[in-house]
Subunit: 139 residues, 4 copies
């Protein structure tokens, strides 16, 4: 079974919109943070270190999707369970489930790549093959 | 052909992350703003007014998805073209295309419903049939 | 000596800007969350409950100020110590100190009031005298 | 009289909090954007270009302060007028006034420095004397 990691947070007043509930884009932000927390739990070095050592700046997104099932509001404690659902040569799929207790709030999937800066244009990035050692840490 | 609306913005420094590019979740935020700008351009009243008149608090998301094709950075002017791709009884699909000049940066889809507050629990919302008059304004 | 509360957080990648450091406005956001955490630790009910019971919607800001002394970046764990520095009839001053270990990153002050919605215009709010029982909880 | 620049924006739903009004920290974000728009209007090159040419990464904040006078909500168009209030050797003070029509919403001040990356630690920055040519452009 795939490794997973749990990222916990308390919803802040400013995470919510005038409908009194979490503004949906915050789930995407939290999924991103939870992806990195997953890597940290698995032992993958900081993107700062991978940049210095291998030029790998992180795992930018190619695609992101989420389904919103139940709303949540400020003061509530939620958790996000994150795991890698599948790996291919150049990309991988992360799965996230946000829960408040037993209630599923939101489910998401991200397609990510490992990327380096384009040496000819620092504002462009290009995908590189998934580093075998990082993948091994995460399985 | 479906009506569409263009929402323009200049990317701010604070919209970008340490990789120097727009943090992806901001596209979801902008798509949301662009959805509302679309409704405004079509003549749908402010959610404040629809709340007062019909109890309709807005069009919360059931599902959101985006594909990221090219990166963008601060100081760049981009535009987001938004339209309703399809309507069903209780939900509709908005499509968004973010472009910098002729370069497509990101394409997104949102499944949305029109919703009222649950009278028994102000923190819960429930979908209502799509108001015919609002739909007519948008077609 | 005044009561204080500590709010802990780990800086996320998306909290940082292209200069690789925390975008300064996030400190103001975190100070706001830390103010509420202070009230919660003191036993002041949720703003949802105070709205229902007394019409008090929270403690909006009249003035906010921060001095930035050292920068911080993603992956770092920081803490914000919050306390009420002084009380007057209608307003109070919260003080926040953000630290990473022994290093002070930022110091802030907020002038806040307790507020109700204006019954004649729900988009306007007005300050009310500081509730004695809430103040007693915080001292 | 000092040069000033006007930055216009429409308040989005997601800029507002459960009290239905702009979450205050967004004003600090907008002041920052408006500061950069001021420099752009004066002819100061992009921070990307100044980084490449002189190592100057921008104008980080030493201190920020704002007074909140009137609230604003989504759908409203506001403008922020920004100018440099004073210059000293190593720092300068920007002043911002946010208005909706004739109503002043918020007034802010930022103390900023021009900064370079510390060559020995890319995560640290240090203030440099204010470049005379940039200052001349802004006066």
């Amino acid at each position: 079974m795939a490794r997973s990691n749990i990222f916990r947070l308390r919803i802040a007043f400013s995470d919510c919109d005038p409908a009194q509930i979490v503004f949906f884009a915050n789930y995407f932000k939290w999924f991103d943070t939870s992806s990195r927390e997953f890597f940290t739990a698995c032992g993958v070095p900081s993107w700062r270190d991978t940049t210095a050592e291998r030029g790998i700046i992180g795992t930018p997104l190619v695609d992101a999707q989420a389904r919103f099932m139940n709303s949540a509001t400020y003061g509530e404690d939620i958790e996000i369970e994150s795991s890698v659902e599948s790996w291919s040569n150049k990309s991988f799929v992360m799965r996230h489930v946000a829960r408040r207790g037993d209630t599923v709030l939101c489910e998401g999937r991200e397609v990510r790549v490992f990327a380096k800066q384009d040496p000819e244009d620092p504002l462009r990035i290009r995908a590189v093959p998934i580093p075998e050692d990082y993948r091994a840490l995460c399985e």
